[in-house]
Subunit: 253 residues, 4 copies
């Protein structure tokens, strides 16, 4: 096994707008939603991870080439300002994911530019902000992302996200949620794209204290560990190969 | 495209015991559960299919070598008498599925000998006979098995089947159900095994009139069409091949 | 089963540039590569399909809204002029695929704008134009796209396409090719995106008469049939749903 | 993340018959094939793993309940004596895999009782003992099992294993091999069954020194790490659940 990245370098990105505009959100997340997500990762990974945060309003949204080059796993939360994310930054994140950086997309991040670009679909869904209870059921119990969480995870109040969720069939379906209104949702999905690993996890909303929920935090920390790259970052490129090129030595895939 | 089998030869198999013992079941299914399933297939496929039925109490359970050789798709329902199905008949059905016969496994058939043998897992699940309402959600809208059914299918009263359902990850997940008690279930799953196609569909129970439900019938009819073999039946076998064996002509896969 | 589209309306799209510039290609494909692909489809589907062609140099590349609205399955071949395909036309094709139109992407179409947009990855690969012999092996013998072809399909001379092919893991892997130089390639891959079905098939090149090969033609015809939509075209959209919205009736997925 | 098992307890199982009967094999593997596999694991995992071996001729084949209960990951090689493995031991291994024990199946183990039982198919294939060169190509470069190996792995002399390999579609396809005779093979495949993780890896044969090959050893060591259970061992069981059972607390999946 190639030696695991140590410590794992995590960047928690968040739009950071609701907290500035909406008192209720500011009360739930006084240091910002990103702070809650970052705390959850640190709580579980401790010294095994170094966690920084970045938000939309920073220059280049805090996601410069330098920051991404030093990021093993990026988490992404956005909602009302997807359109303000610069295409240039999206290009950069896309390139880093395909080269091996892990990406954890949270909740309303389903409609972010980076997620829809990686998926190739609309990523639309059904929704209702109606204080539904969400139950998160594990359907892949041997998956490391599901380690240590109860079955089901009970989230007392949540926004409802329901099917049809227009994503490619996930490589691995880890969680399926139900809502008190009766809807279901593929709430925990893995995807491999290029050399990068992606996890989409739907629990989490600005109007509910979901990122303080201990099991939700554990899932995110598990996902960060799972998404860590297993090899140095390299971008898939077109290669012209002579016959017999591999006889002396192969290269990286 | 190889010409589709025409007409499609369908055998509907059912244990046939509850109907004999339990008045309530006999009232719901006066001609047997198999008759209801068979009617549903005929209702949708008409002249495109010839449908026969077979039950546990017939000699060789009605599944002789001759019957199976003339069956393109077999549907399977069993519940209280899985253990009475002769191993020799299970071997025969297994062999035919691997050689290309389609198989539709219904509801409590999850614990049949043939399904657990094909899956390699326990096929256990969570259950409750408590008059839950089941909602069947489509998560693969382009799949032919989901054609023409509403989203969701509403089944007013049903037995609850919940996760964790111990099956291999399905090749294609077509339906996910929720129950009024909050549980979820991967209720429509495809699997390819050998040269055969398998569909598991969980709605259906002896205590509820589910096989009279128009959408449930449509799904079963769609599945029968989908599972029809695309090629003549052949059993995968170990083959020793000389170098260059394919130069004159390849064979079937 | 919803009644199959009949006859199936197929549009064969091709860049159409090599044939104009390169005598060798013009000799191999005197009526254009699109004509050879179209003939192959007609040869196998006969009256079950109506086939038209369209090329890059037509207004709107021959892919107006009207044409796409009347197209059940589109096939795509391009190579040296991917960059000349108008983004507006790519947007339109993308929208139609997500709404249910089938798409067959051929050979060097792996780097087309429409395929990379649907995949979300670079779609790069390894290649060599060195007269390799390609063997196309079936790894999903029950798949309708593999019906009726030998195992392996032998293509005497071909461009080599090798791994790593930077695509998402296919929903179904149907064919794997080897080349005389030793490389392998996932040469037949299905993907579902939105309501549409996609098949990528790598055999086929302007410098070799691959689209006259009877087995290659059969695969393309099989794929066209497989990719036909099972339901009327609808675009996945964001839906806000009140609690209990489905009680009277569900909708399409 | 649940703390990883430490050190990982690995049991390397091998039939151990060829080495006793065939001088050539005894020369290649003087301490037995199991010793070579065990050395490879230790070479890469060092103190992170404790490795023991067990063979067919030991009482209960060395796989008592006690041994399995203390095994996190079991590797399996067999060939000429699959039929001598006691069904009772196969039952026991099967139960442990479904409860969470990792299983690595090597080469001719494809036809072992435990692998065919877990797969549900014949697991037949095409073969030739003809000194083919095998090239092992990575098709999932972000998978931890592929970490650190060249692309391709070159094995100078090997038995040929070719398609059609009658297995379920793997959950993840990691490697595809080609042989100098032109055949291809899905040579590295993951499967999840119950709570257990399974990896099948085809390189390795008694007639060639493949288990001394540094890259083959690395893959096996990577696979052992990947297959380690993420949670305490539990067997999937049928559970009857009252409405609201999860309100106080959920359980393990």
């Amino acid at each position: 096994m190639s030696s695991p990245v140590s410590p794992l370098r995590v960047t928690v990105w968040s739009e950071g707008r609701h907290e500035q505009r909406d008192e209720k959100v500011a009360r739930l997340y006084p240091k910002g939603m990103h702070a809650a997500v970052a705390e959850g990762v640190t709580e579980h990974l401790g010294a095994a991870a170094t966690v920084r945060t970045a938000t939309l309003d920073e220059p280049e949204h805090g996601l410069t080439e330098e920051v991404l080059a030093e990021t093993d796993v990026l988490t992404w939360w956005g909602h009302i300002a997807h359109g303000e994310v610069a295409d240039e930054v999206v290009d950069r994140v896309h390139r880093h994911v395909l080269a091996g950086m892990g990406l954890i997309v949270l909740h309303s991040g389903h409609w972010s530019k980076i997620f829809t670009r990686l998926m190739g679909t609309t990523c639309t869904l059904r929704w209702r902000n109606g204080r539904d209870r969400e139950l998160v059921w594990t359907v892949a119990p041997s998956h490391p992302i599901a380690a240590g969480v109860p079955h089901p995870i009970v989230i007392e109040e949540q926004e409802m996200y329901g099917e049809f969720f227009d994503i490619p069939a996930p490589d691995e379906l880890v969680f399926v949620s139900s809502f008190s209104g009766g809807e279901v949702f593929r709430s925990g999905c893995t995807f491999r794209r290029g050399h990068g690993k992606i996890f989409y996890f739907s629990p989490g909303d600005q109007d509910y204290p979901v990122y303080h929920h201990p099991d939700v935090r554990r899932v995110i920390a598990n996902a960060v560990t799972w998404a860590a790259p297993a090899a140095p970052r390299t971008t898939p490129t077109l290669v012209r190969s002579e016959t017999g090129w591999f006889e002396d030595e192969g290269g990286p895939a």
